[in-house]
């Protein structure tokens, strides 16, 4: 991937990634349906949804929302591009965080109770997973002596062997990012709960489509990072990613959604504990 001209890689990342993401979302919905003994929507359903949304009336509560939705998308795309180009992962993660912050600010720019609560909860989610993501990078740095994604991809040994504890911690982060039970707090992406659609509630039509497309990029990003844990052999990496993806969906289906104070407690004890332990032994 790195060998190709960076411009082509970047363009590929910008235009091909959403389709992979959409496919994964479709797969997710289909699998979830099967786990509930349903047939479920067609595999291309996410794409139908987004095309439909793009053609709907652009309703907003205020114009500021739109800018934030746009920034959310741009930062996310930028993050994917940076990774695809093998750039500094720490910066990529910062950019990812700003993408999320844009979403949060977009949710808060509307004086709608549920959107606001969703934003506050998204902040709590960030608070609980951000340290783990950075610790993961620290772990990677300690092994590879570099924050560069291209160095990780080029390194000789699989990361998973050196980061066995950070990997599950990352999976927990992934569950938060994918809005899966037991973590689905800020958007109620799956199922209806007390804050309806939370942060995305006040977005509709094309702007909701933007958020959806961003989510596709995000899913690809998470997949990419998982694959990186076994970068020596891409098929093995993909297999691991697929297994993890299945496990996430399984988890979503066998657990109730809990509350965000629980998440904060859990992430700051269990997941952070795992990550810190792993990083510490890399130091020694």
């Amino acid at each position: 991937m790195i060998m190709i001209d960076p411009v082509i890689t970047a363009l590929l990342a910008i235009f091909a990634v959403p389709f992979i993401g959409a496919f994964l979302v479709g797969l997710d919905r289909k699998l979830t349906a099967r786990m509930q003994s349903r047939i479920g929507p067609p595999l291309l359903q996410p794409i139908y949804d987004v095309i439909k949304l793009l053609h709907k009336e652009p309703i907003v509560v205020n114009r500021v929302q739109i800018i934030y939705a746009g920034l959310h998308l741009i930062f996310m795309v930028l993050c994917v591009v940076l990774l695809a180009l093998g750039q500094d992962m720490l910066m990529a993660l910062f950019i990812l965080a700003f993408s999320t912050i844009s979403l949060i600010l977009g949710g808060m720019s509307v004086r709608s109770p549920y959107s606001r609560i969703g934003s506050q909860r998204e902040i709590m989610q960030m608070l609980s997973y951000e340290p783990i993501l950075i610790l993961m990078l620290v772990g990677i740095y300690l092994i590879n002596d570099s924050f560069m994604a291209r160095d990780i991809l080029a390194s000789g040994k699989p990361l998973l062997l050196s980061l066995p504890l950070i990997f599950p911690a990352f999976l927990m982060v992934m569950a938060i990012k994918l809005q899966k039970s037991p973590f689905d707090f800020s958007t109620s992406h799956h199922g209806h709960q007390e804050i309806i659609k939370g942060i995305t509630l006040e977005y509709s039509g094309p702007f909701l489509a933007i958020l959806e497309i961003t989510h596709w990029y995000e899913i690809f990003l998470l997949f990419f990072i998982i694959t990186m844990f076994w970068a020596t052999s891409i098929p093995v990496g993909l297999l691991i990613a697929a297994v993890c993806f299945f496990c996430e969906i399984l988890l979503d289906n066998i657990m109730a959604r809990l509350t965000w104070p629980w998440m904060l407690r859990f992430m700051w004890t269990v997941a952070l504990g795992l990550a810190v332990t792993n990083v510490l032994w890399l130091y020694i």
Partner: protein, 101 residues
């Protein structure tokens, strides 16, 4: 701890329980109250059904002999079928079809 795991995995492995409704239709249960039907050949237009209908969905008149049912007002209770002296009203087990305005 995670008690639904087994059932969820079973669901994946088994065929979904979904009835693909518009494609495959299940035969309605016998005696099911789907919608009201009237047999004009036996009806005497006595108007009992109209008087007794709880939802006032029926209008019957003797002079121009007419029997009208407002399908969107009918609560499909089947009371008219029960009390019809000539048993000309019956319940069709298939559900009534949606319509526009």
């Amino acid at each position: 701890m995670v008690s639904l795991l087994k059932s969820v995995i079973n669901n994946v492995l088994r065929k979904p329980e979904t009835r693909c409704y518009p494609v495959e239709r299940r035969a309605p249960f016998a005696g099911s109250r789907g919608h009201v039907e009237m047999d004009p050949s036996t009806c005497t237009f006595c108007g009992v059904c109209a008087r007794k209908c709880p939802a006032n969905a029926l209008t019957v008149s003797k002079d121009p002999r007419s029997w009208t049912l407002e399908p969107y007002k009918c609560i499909v209770c089947g009371y008219c079928a029960d009390i019809c002296p000539k048993k000309s009203i019956s319940m069709n087990p298939n559900h009534g079809l949606p319509g526009g305005i």
